[in-house]
Symmetry: C2
Amino acid sequence: MKHADGRSRPKGVEPLGVGIAGLGTVGAGIVKLIEENRDVLLSHCPRPIVVTAVSARDRTKDRGIDLSNIEWCDDPMMLARHDKVDVVVEVIGGSDGPAKALIEAALANKRHVVTANKALLAHHGTELALKAEAAGLALAYEAAVAGGIPVIKAMREGLAANRIDRVYGILNGTCNYILTQMRETGREFADVLQEAQKLGYAETDPSFDVDGIDAAHKLSILTSVAFGCAVDFAGVRISGIRQVSAMDIAYADELGFRIKLLGLARQAQHGIEQRVHACMVPAASPIAKVDGVFNAVVTRGNFVGENMVIGRGAGQGPTASAIVSDLMDIARDRILPAFSAPAATLKKVKQAPAGLHRGSYYMRLMVVDKPGVIADVAAAMRDENVSMEAMIQRARSPGEPVPVVLTTHETEAQAIERVVARLGRIKAILEPAHVLPIETLD
Amino acid sequence: MKHADGRSRPKGVEPLGVGIAGLGTVGAGIVKLIEENRDVLLSHCPRPIVVTAVSARDRTKDRGIDLSNIEWCDDPMMLARHDKVDVVVEVIGGSDGPAKALIEAALANKRHVVTANKALLAHHGTELALKAEAAGLALAYEAAVAGGIPVIKAMREGLAANRIDRVYGILNGTCNYILTQMRETGREFADVLQEAQKLGYAETDPSFDVDGIDAAHKLSILTSVAFGCAVDFAGVRISGIRQVSAMDIAYADELGFRIKLLGLARQAQHGIEQRVHACMVPAASPIAKVDGVFNAVVTRGNFVGENMVIGRGAGQGPTASAIVSDLMDIARDRILPAFSAPAATLKKVKQAPAGLHRGSYYMRLMVVDKPGVIADVAAAMRDENVSMEAMIQRARSPGEPVPVVLTTHETEAQAIERVVARLGRIKAILEPAHVLPIETLD
């Protein structure tokens, strides 16, 4: 057998040498897993997987792992040309900078790459896949989307016989935890966020998570795998969960919905839609029942129907599990194009115009409780040809602000925008309309 | 590239020839999928997959598929040595007879095998895997367990880095449909079964499904993949859902449980437990929320934690999806040992003694409502060192039969059996105790 680095070795005897760049929680978890589960790995894959070199900032830090037989490299770039390294595992993070430089150097030096770096793939995935495939190397990233859940393998291999027309999921555990807590306790976003930060479920700067960026990174990768198109992070319409209020969550319950931050990509009439946003999903739908820090991805294929996978989307163990499963594929010479179809054939996404999206909407208006307001609201909708499905004005408090909640039948997004603009001109409506899309998931 | 049949062909150009034995719903679905999704298959896998030959009983039957370019073989055994067949797809069914003879002949003639036949694998899986692996051939069977859900791939590859200590699932859609209907309508088993038969969700002879045999076939396969042991169908303790009554379902609700037919295998203290039975699961657990004809499998690994997959466990489309994904793996030369570890290394299951199983139990007694009965019941439990967790005697009807429901703390199965024997000797208890295990799924 001829190795990636050109050296000849008898297959199945010579180990697969792994160099890990980054020894944070995840990097240490990989070392731990390979050590603790050595017999399990060997029973599946006769070629031993051995961590031969590591690189991190602080050599003296106690990580609870034995590094005595592993070479230490001060500079991660050394891993890319280390003669005992067949695969570089990049768990440094960041969409550019050292992570990108390392991966490029590894591929240039004929080393396979395994990464958990969704931001980097979202921005440079297609370009890196081209380089890897031209050199016959793996660019593997199971851990980058939904952590321990083998969703990339499921889509790229297990469901590969299907024409996929939709993929959606709960791709960010922090947001799902916050929304679940808000629903269970009735508290507001800021309050629950603060608690999540204390518990370590949310970062000090939570914006990557709560503004939907992290979910959008993952979605852009899923889109590419599902539809065989180039990764197009810029094409994802993104909003987060900051604007979700306890009141909306309570109304969702009343209307038979749950509020979830979904990442959703689908083949629509005018192109591919990619969006990340908080939305209402039917309470009875399987995705509505995925609570707390769990992730879930639903794929719909023309023969298989809907398939859902659920599991832990982050954390040391799940991420290490996904990374080592990628290493096992490489050890067994099971190398596939990164995004289902060969990178050279990936087409640019034809983006569906946002305004043409058709769907139903939830709208909450804070109005002064006086006669005639509802008539004004109804007129605004009528004038934009948007038809109302339900309306709730529960509280009565003459002269005071009260919520009026309504849901619409299916309509175009641009019509809703025009309705919102009209409502903004009605004096008795005190705040901009709170709008959430309803995803029926039919 | 050297083919299985010894002929040399340029890789990626010469198609993978597929011979299908059996043209029922599933066989026809495979032909349909390969035709309709030709472009999808080619984008993933440059080697074309072509159905070259088929065999079924009735040549004249209209199956809604075009067979004009496909060779017809009156005898399925012809597929095993057909020079245009690289892979034999067996969808005849049956644990022995023609299906087994065909698979053995195919392997003997160096043809790969793809099958959806769980009964056959449950009984002869290890032996067939040995033959396939000795010849360097695939014995692939994604469709045999949980239909369209790529659970075999998930366990054998995606979660392969983990030591698995438990796998369980809803493996029979017919039973899950019946139990869901019973709960939603309050009707009894026989009534719902009859309706399911009318709707085509249950067979005329429903025993394979409702007595748990089908689920046990699938469980024995999952056990082997999860624990790297020989397939041991005989080691599965099996009971079905005939004895589940509407009353038990109502009590389950009241106690915060759902009744599901689970197949469960786990590494216990004294060996491996394999069991299929109706049991109580916490209403809040993800598996409790899988309703209707859906299947679901939960795998627990030491690094990844719990992973669940949900989807359609049967039907033309899902089964064809799984079979063609197996064909794509073969077309890409991705051939793995059938049961994770090489068949030659699979150890015989060390079966955990049933009586030593520790768990909690639900028990419903039909008693004559008169003073002293509860005291007798409590004494029987005390005498076997079984401690009661809860007791409900809702209805009062002096002198008449009323249900008494109790749940126990964790205890040994053999202690429960002894309790049941003691209760059988109490005159005021009118029927044998209705016992269901409680699976806390902790």
